[in-house]
Amino acid sequence: MRSFRFVDYLPFLLFAALALFPLVESTFYTQLLTKILIMAIFAMSLDLLIGYTGLVSFGHAAYFGLAGYALALMGPKYEAVSLWWSLPAAMGICAAFALVTGILILRTRGIYFIMVTLAFAQMLYFVFHDTKLGGGSDGIYIYEKPLMKLGDAVLIDLENLNHFFWLVLVLILLVYLFLRRILQSPFGKALVGIKVNEHRMRALGFPVFRYQLASFTLSGALAGMAGYLAAVQYGFVNPEILSWHQSGAVMMMVILGGMGTLYGPVIGAFAFVLLREFLSNDAWTGIFAKHWQLAMGVFIVLVALYLPRGLAGVLQRFGKKPLEEADDE
């Protein structure tokens, strides 16, 4: 048996603290925190690919945006859609799209893989940008936010900011526990094995392609969950939700936080969104706020050069000694 490790319980303590947040803070910060948690789910889904399967996808916005469009197009226009089936349906559509594109994309490796994921995301961007399917470049509004009903009683109304926040909070906890379970299973161990040495895993008899495709599909479905929630929060979708800047931002969150750890992407989402809010707020940065992307760009370059293991790597470096000693006992 392992001895008690505070770190193992930290996510649950944080979760409990966050659950109380809307009761003490203003709606502005509740909304900001909701946005961060949604991006954290998105970043965790990408980390499954980059950090655990060794597949560098630069087109993850495709699955994020597709779920948003799925929500906007699935429901009746002026009536609230049921959360019961619309969220699973949106994730299912993303999983199906990830499965089909994955079969093609996984024929490539390395630099090709990066470019092809980007190209497929861009293809989807043009599907929604150039055709009338999703309102073209203007996008579409989601007039009524989804409801979860049991009989006639409304359990969750996403129009209510606190309900929405708590739903996102529960979902992120479920995603975290689910991914942790998956990664501890033989399936997860095999994924990490493929990341480290694909040829050896193949030689050992693992069906590498099927493992990668499963990971790719699962990651697409989870990105879809985040995209669905983001569309609910903004109340509209337009092609920008699929843009490659979205893919760049989420990749930045994964690396900034620390890839190959589940809490890293969450830290990364907090750091990235808060930094963006800080830099683009003219109350803090004055005339530089208009050109916040300049500072963000320099920051990204510096992270790539000097912080390859992200903030989680920094934490581990500081936290390592005491934990190792505790393990030795």
Partner: protein, 289 residues
């Protein structure tokens, strides 16, 4: 579709394809020889176009603007390689993507700070501003033919440089075995710097000569970059010949796509890419790895 109209589309497609080749050849050389994925490549296309606009409005001549701008972009390319890119050679592609993505944001905002966010037109040089009449009401602009001609000359020059010169030999050797080349006493770091600067200058030059046709506008590099990725995937990484053929195919596909199926034009090139991926995942002229 009558013959004259078809001819115009054909020439447009070839011209667009040849222009893509200038950007994509640099991209594929940098991939193939240095192993670097450079997302900021489209930014240099944009920088070239903005330099052409601002210098030609200062000097009053596009030709003069281009002659001043080329050395500037070469210096920019060499400086970037020394300062940033050289730290990425031994790193995972992930960090190359991240760093060059950061550079896109930096260049785009610097463009906004220096040149503003407006759309600008660039005048075609007077010497090339007339058109060749094809029928009573259809004609073809000489400037487009001139662009195609210049691009073909550059393609031939690139072929000569890589296949027939001593420098080209060193570049090819460096692509297949960096350590071996270094131990034979060749300064591989210098070669990398030159290749990077060459790729950057080609992309920027494409932006300069195309500025009168496309006009100059914010975020103009992004679209070109992604189309060039498709070109490189279809042609095969590191293959300049593949880049040339794929550029022409994409140029024609997109031009005719816009005429024949305007609603699906944006997707035609990606569909082509998907077909090539099914058929030959390593690209038409890529080596199997």
């Amino acid at each position: 579709m009558d013959l004259a109209f078809f001819l115009i589309q054909l020439l447009n497609g070839l011209q667009y394809g040849l222009l893509l080749f200038l950007v994509a050849s640099g991209l594929t050389l940098i991939f193939g020889i240095m192993g670097i994925i450079n997302l900021a490549h489209g930014s240099f296309y944009m920088i070239g176009a903005y330099l052409a606009w601002s210098l030609s409005s200062m000097t009053g001549s596009l030709t003069a603007a281009i002659l001043i701008a080329i050395p500037l972009t070469v210096v920019l390319g060499m400086g970037l390689e020394r300062l940033l890119i050289q730290h990425l050679y031994k790193r995972d592609h992930l960090y190359q993507v991240l760093l060059t993505y950061g550079l896109i944001l930096v260049f785009e905002e610097l463009r906004s700070v220096i040149w503003g966010d407006d759309v600008h037109g660039v005048a075609v040089p007077a010497l090339l501003s007339h058109s060749i009449p094809l029928t009573e009401n259809l004609s073809y602009p000489v400037y487009r033919l001139a662009i195609s001609g210049v691009c073909l000359l550059l393609a031939a020059g690139l072929y000569f440089l890589i296949q027939k010169t001593r420098l080209g030999m060193m570049i090819r050797a460096g692509a297949s075995n960096r350590e071996m080349v270094q131990s034979l006493g060749i300064d591989i770091k210098l070669i990398y710097t030159l290749v990077f600067a060459l790729g950057i200058a080609l992309a920027a030059f494409a932006g300069m000569i195309n500025a009168p046709l496309s006009s100059v506008f914010p975020n103009m590099g992004g679209g070109v970059l992604i189309i060039c990725f498709v070109v490189v995937v279809i042609g095969g990484i590191g293959s300049v010949k593949g880049a040339l053929i794929a550029s022409l195919v994409i140029g024609l596909a997109e031009t005719f796509g816009q005429v024949l199926v305007p609603e699906l034009a944006g997707m035609v090139v990606y569909f082509l890419m998907a077909v090539v991926l099914v058929w030959r995942p390593e690209g038409l002229f890529g080596g199997r790895s």
